[in-house]
């Protein structure tokens, strides 16, 4: 996302930037900078200013150097108007061996036919420009420049060359190294297709891609020369992602933003209502607990607030009867399971949604008792977890066995083979408890850590 608070970014007068003319003149609130001095970062249509930053390396316009630049004074590159001409003869005398050091326009050498092929290092920009006699090959830099304001694309260098020379160059064009015929290209459409059907062009514009660099980092380094479209700023997410021509994309993005915004609002409400809540067992404010313990354990049948670790611990307490530990520690209303949640839920609807989401999430996990068909789940079809075979087909295991007869057939023991020892001890100590009781114990017995998903196992019995 573009950081508009970047200290290097400032507001500059857009009028001056755009046309070198500002109706407010000296009294303008924003500094006047020409195009070659600043880099435009952001501009909202209709504003008097734009966000920009000073160019650290002002490049010299290479077309201007050749004597013709269609952008004239609106060029993004520096035009060293009079200096160039003044220094020209002197430079010729020096024959390129001595660089004019006292002039900051050292790169303003005009290529001429008299020059030997040589490499010229531009001090201000690091571009290497190779000049080979008349045939000037540009080995670096952009192949074409996009003029965003006119939305004209100059596809080839020749197009750029074929432009009227600057006014200030009027007396010097005779000195130009080669003759370039005048062509007022800017005034007429770029192509036949454009002339014939402006709609098709609009369509073409609409399908153009937005700059991937802006999408990724928020800033495109080639702001002025980028071949991609640069989107307008979305006032909600403050990113330059609104397609300037594609209305559908704008609408879609807007909806996404609104959705995101609603989500954020909900989240902040959730945080606000959870912030003060304290656990009824440890009495600590849950959101202020240590990392990993800031989770709420929501009981479906009552509205008392506990942290997940405390309520789970309470429900695994072995020293009390099942009825006691399955009840809310505050109101003694029995709940069948605990639903973990990051935030406190107030309303019935929120709670239902949370519990449904929780069940849905669990139903995608494989049951560790069912073991993809290798084992049997004591919870039967009331188990929250997934009972599916390795091929993915689901299996209805039927209702859970209601009661286990104490000295019954071995199949029953098979069901609970993992807990045989436990059962044995259990039965020895307590004459007979419900299956439910055992299973709850079993869960706690096999749950060695709180973060284990298996502690989500809860029991259903009526």
């Amino acid at each position: 996302m573009a950081d508009v608070r970047d200290i290097n970014w400032q507001r500059y007068c857009y009028n001056f930037y755009n046309s070198r003319e500002c109706p407010q003149g000296e009294g303008c609130t924003y500094p006047h900078k020409a195009r070659f001095e600043v880099e435009q970062i952001q501009y909202t249509l209709g504003d008097d200013f734009f966000l920009g930053k000073l160019r650290t390396n002002q490049r010299v316009c290479r077309f201007f150097r050749r004597g013709n630049c269609i952008h004239q004074q609106n060029c993004h590159y520096r035009h060293d108007n009079d200096d160039t001409i003044r220094h020209l003869p002197k430079y010729n005398q020096q024959n390129g061996n001595n660089r004019d050091t006292n002039c900051d326009t050292s790169s303003s050498e005009l290529p001429s036919t008299s020059f030997e092929p040589q490499d010229v290092t531009n001090k201000n920009s690091i571009n290497m420009i190779q000049i080979k006699g008349d045939a000037q090959e540009l080995t670096s830099g952009q192949d074409y420049i996009e003029n965003k304001e006119n939305n004209l694309e100059i596809q080839e260098e020749e197009g750029a060359c074929a432009s009227p020379p600057l006014n200030s160059m009027n007396e010097s064009w005779v000195n130009a190294p080669e003759f370039v015929p005048k062509n007022i290209i800017a005034a007429r459409p770029r192509s036949y297709a454009e002339a014939l059907s402006p709609e098709a062009i609009a369509e073409k514009n609409a399908s153009k891609k937005l700059c991937p660099y802006v999408n990724k980092d928020g800033i495109c380094r080639n702001l002025t020369d980028c071949t991609y479209l640069h989107g307008e700023m979305c006032d909600m997410c403050e990113r330059l992602v609104l397609h300037p021509y594609n209305e559908e994309q704008r609408k879609r993005h807007r909806q996404e933003c609104i959705k995101q915004h609603e989500k954020n609002m909900e989240l902040s409400f959730a945080i606000a209502r959870s912030k003060e809540k304290s656990c009824g067992v440890c009495f600590e404010v849950i959101m202020e607990k240590a990392n990993g313990e800031q989770r709420f354990g929501i009981l479906p049948n009552c509205n008392h607030c506990f942290c997940l670790s405390c309520i789970r611990k309470w429900r695994q307490a072995r020293q009390f009867e099942n009825k006691i530990i399955r009840a809310c520690p505050e109101c003694r209303v029995t709940s069948d399971f605990v639903c973990p949640s990051m935030y406190w839920v107030d309303t019935k609807e929120d709670k239902e949604k949370l519990i449904n989401d929780y069940k849905k999430a669990l139903s995608r996990k494989d049951c560790k008792y069912f073991k993809k068909g290798h084992g049997k789940c004591p919870f039967g079809n009331k188990c929250f977890y997934l009972h599916a075979f390795p091929d993915g087909s689901k299996c209805d295991v039927g209702p859970p066995p209601r009661q286990r007869r104490p000295r019954n057939v071995e199949t029953e023991i098979d069901v609970l083979q993992q807990v045989m020892l436990w059962d044995f001890l259990d039965e020895r100590d307590f004459p007979w408890q419900s299956l439910a009781d055992d299973l709850e114990d079993l869960v706690s017995f096999f749950t060695d850590s709180d973060e284990s998903d298996w502690s989500d196992y809860e029991l259903f019995y009526d």
């Binding site: 067992v281 009495f283 009390f320």
Partner: protein
């Protein structure tokens, strides 16, 4: 674990000190050591009971597993109550045993004990002697207005109060047989 217990007792301690009951001098808690494992409680005898005006000192021991297990509480002050041992001070109260809930606090425990003083459960006694005698007292015919009525009727017949009482009680408060015996 022990950390949870200590943290919680600390919080509860503040809660008790701030509570209304302390202001009314009904309950009181004092720390006995720095580790928050032993405390001294004090409850006032509830009004309109034989315990009114009394102050009963309690010993509270907080287990490491608190609040998942109840605190161990016993009376230091000797008390005559069917659910409290007159010898050891042990208390028979369900919430201090199997009906404990993790959300209960020192304050609720002390208030429950106060309620226990005003509502004894002689059918589930801790102290059998006290339980029996309190049952006898509760069954005592003098407490029954019906007996008074019968005595009054005999007195109206010209029998002396004491004689009527003896006759009625020897015939298990059967008015007819007592009358027969008196006037035969």
């Amino acid at each position: 674990m022990a950390n949870i217990a200590a943290q919680r007792i600390k919080r509860e301690f503040k809660e008790v000190i701030k509570s209304e009951e302390v202001a009314k001098c009904a309950i009181k808690v004092e720390l006995l050591n720095d580790s928050y494992t032993e405390l001294k409680g004090e409850i006032a005898g509830p009004p309109d009971t034989p315990y009114e005006g009394g102050n009963f000192i309690l010993e509270i021991k907080v287990p490491e597993t608190y609040p998942f297990n109840p605190p161990k509480v016993r009376f230091i002050t000797k008390i005559w109550h069917p659910n409290i041992s007159s010898v050891t001070g042990a208390i028979c109260l369900d919430i201090l045993k199997d009906q404990w809930a993790a959300a209960m606090t020192l304050r609720t425990v002390l208030l429950s004990l106060q309620a226990l003083l005003s509502a004894a459960e002689p059918d589930d006694p801790q102290d059998a002697v006290v339980g029996d005698s309190i049952k006898k007292i509760l069954k005592c015919p003098h407490a029954n207005s019906d007996c008074d009525d019968k005595i009054k009727r005999l007195v109206d017949m010209g029998v002396e109060d004491h004689q009527a009482r003896v006759a009625l009680s020897s015939y298990n408060w059967d008015l007819e047989r007592a009358t027969e015996q008196l006037f035969s």
